[in-house]
């Protein structure tokens, strides 16, 4: 860690088990403000559970999660979003029957706390902001389409736009390129990196494509059977004997 960098997210001794299966085992973790950080690990390593514990979707059995010095354990997702952490989901999680435009518009309404406004017409709000976000993720042309009818890759982009509408300082992307073609993957990653840098966001993401991970991550953490077995700069992680043994070396992840 460079001197003077600020710890944004600090996780200590995190545990979570489901009916005896330990999905998160004593995980401690620190994330500096402004870094691009990847969490990798084989399927079932506990990456999504880790995200769910941070964002309030699940409550840890034990341990602490502090965001900018504030304890998040026990807070519901909507409070955590308001503190500045937004996320996307591995499995598409949008409003499939609403238009692309409405998907983002309602997220902006929520961000501004206007969900309690019974008087202002919803459809007239944040039209400019919605357009800007759709342009940013490359969906301006699809604004009036039904979200569920978009291609898989475009639905993933819409996920990103919805997350950005919450104006987070920390963005969590769970497998942002899962199910995408190599072409879509590289486009998406380039666009995510540009957005994160332009907005000064901190990015924590999980990803199975190692070329993506080593292409953009400044730091990498490795989960294996719920345990964080390594965390550090890409080269250090790549050469870590334990990581090599359980993951990188003998696994045909592409």
């Amino acid at each position: 860690m460079s001197a003077g960098a600020q710890t944004m997210l600090k996780i200590g001794g995190l545990w979570k088990s489901f009916a005896g299966f330990v999905a998160t085992r004593d995980v401690s973790f620190e994330l500096e403000a402004g870094e691009v950080h990847a969490v990798i690990g084989p399927n079932g390593a506990g990456k999504t559970t880790f995200f769910n514990l941070i964002t309030g979707h699940l409550r840890p059995d034990k341990g602490s999660v502090a965001f900018e010095g504030r304890d998040l354990v026990g807070l519901p997702p909507q409070r955590i979003v308001r503190l500045g952490i937004a996320r996307s989901f591995q499995r598409i999680n949008i409003y499939p029957r609403l238009t692309v435009f409405e998907n983002v518009q309602v997220a902006l309404i929520a961000h501004e706390g206007q969900q309690w406004n019974l008087f202002r017409p919803g459809r007239s709000l944040h039209r400019e902001g919605t357009r800007e976000l759709l342009e940013l993720v490359g969906l301006a042309a699809e604004a009036t389409e039904t979200a569920g009818e978009l291609s898989y890759g475009k639905q993933k982009q819409l996920e990103l736009a919805i997350a950005l509408a919450s104006q987070p300082r920390l963005l969590l992307l769970d497998e942002p390129t899962a199910g995408m073609s190599p072409q879509e993957t590289s486009e998406t990653i380039a666009s995510v990196r540009d957005i994160v840098k332009a907005r000064g966001l901190t990015l924590l993401f999980t990803e199975h494509d190692m070329s993506v991970v080593f292409g953009i991550a400044e730091r990498i953490s490795v989960l294996h059977h719920g345990e964080m077995i390594a965390s550090g700069a890409p080269d250090a992680v790549r050469n870590d004997p334990e990581v090599k043994r359980v993951y990188l070396g003998n696994n045909a992840h592409g």
Binding site: P77, R82, L98, V106, A110, H111, L118
Partner: protein
């Protein structure tokens, strides 16, 4: 239809209805009064069903609370209408807020069953609390202001109140609040992750639905000059649910269409046969099998078929 045209169409409908008494048919005026009341009742339920995606099986409770409260305040306590009617709405809303507080902790069938359970409690109170509600004899002889005792003047009163209430519901359903309710309906988990307390949203929708349901009940009681325990029974909850489904729950105007159609069908059926429940069963069958998105859905399908949009 663009909003401007919707507004013009609605205004035209209100004007047409206002001219109706000139036709001189008492039957038509009474029937229209009833349809207006049921339309408001169905619209109020649709805030919960269509917009928020929560199927309530106990909406008659708020209808009954509004109806009994207004009736009792007017008659037993001799309060003026200008206070009795708003008080009935407020009480129905308050009870909905209390009941909703518990119901929104559950979802789907469990939510529906809890709304039904609370509604049966309300029915039980109306039945047992004889000295206040009249029990199974009903609460009759409601004391109406003299100017409303004439059926035409009561029709105009209902038309005015329902028009204002429907306009208010339209505004609420199309507001930022209403759009967020749709988001809750479409994907509750995602809506939590954009920073919305979805349980509180559902609670608010429950309260709004109960309040407007109470208003419909108050108008109903005054129209019939009486409230009866059947008005609180679960079959009433089922009937208003069918009105919503028949009209189309994903459209604002659908429930109005459903209420009018179902009520008129009931009135005409009763002229020829006593088998209304059988007819109602057949209607339900048709909705489920061929009209999943209601009459409104049928209208748009026919339009699409003939190349108009």
């Amino acid at each position: 239809m663009p909003p401007r045209n919707q507004l013009i169409a609605s205004a035209a409908l209100v004007v047409l209805l206002a001219l109706l008494p000139l036709a001189g048919s008492r039957y038509a005026v009474d029937l229209s009064t009833e349809v207006l009341i049921y339309a408001l009742f169905a619209l109020s339920l649709n805030v919960l069903i269509g917009f928020t995606g929560n199927v309530s099986f106990g909406h008659a409770a708020y209808f009954a609370i509004g109806g009994y409260t207004c009736a009792i305040l007017l008659t037993t306590y001799r309060w003026p209408l200008a206070i009795s009617l708003p008080a009935a709405v407020v009480l129905a809303g308050l009870v909905a807020a209390v009941v909703g507080y518990f119901c929104v902790r559950l979802t789907q069938i469990y939510f529906a069953m809890l709304t039904l359970a609370f509604a049966m409690l309300v029915w039980g109170v109306a039945f047992k609390w004889k000295e206040v509600t009249g029990g199974d004899d009903g609460f009759t002889g409601i004391n109406l202001p003299a100017m409303l005792t004439n059926h035409v003047s009561y029709f105009y009163f209902t038309l005015a109140v329902v028009t204002v209430a429907v306009a208010a519901l339209w505004m609420i359903c199309h507001s930022a609040f209403g759009l967020t309710l749709v988001a809750v309906r479409e994907n509750s988990v995602r809506t939590g992750f954009i920073g919305v307390d979805t349980r509180r949203m559902r609670w608010a929708a429950f309260t709004v639905a109960g309040s407007f349901g109470g208003l419909a009940g108050a108008l109903f009681g005054m129209y019939h000059r009486g409230m009866y325990i059947e008005n609180a029974f679960w079959t009433e909850s089922a009937q208003v649910l069918i009105m919503v489904l028949l009209g189309g729950m994903y459209s604002f105007v659908g429930p109005i269409l459903g209420a009018a159609t179902l009520h008129l069908l009931q009135v005409f059926t009763n002229q020829y046969t006593t088998y209304w429940p059988t007819v109602l069963g057949l209607i339900l069958l048709v909705i489920v099998m061929v009209l999943p998105d209601g009459l409104i859905g049928l209208v748009s399908r026919v339009r699409a078929r003939w190349g108009k949009t």
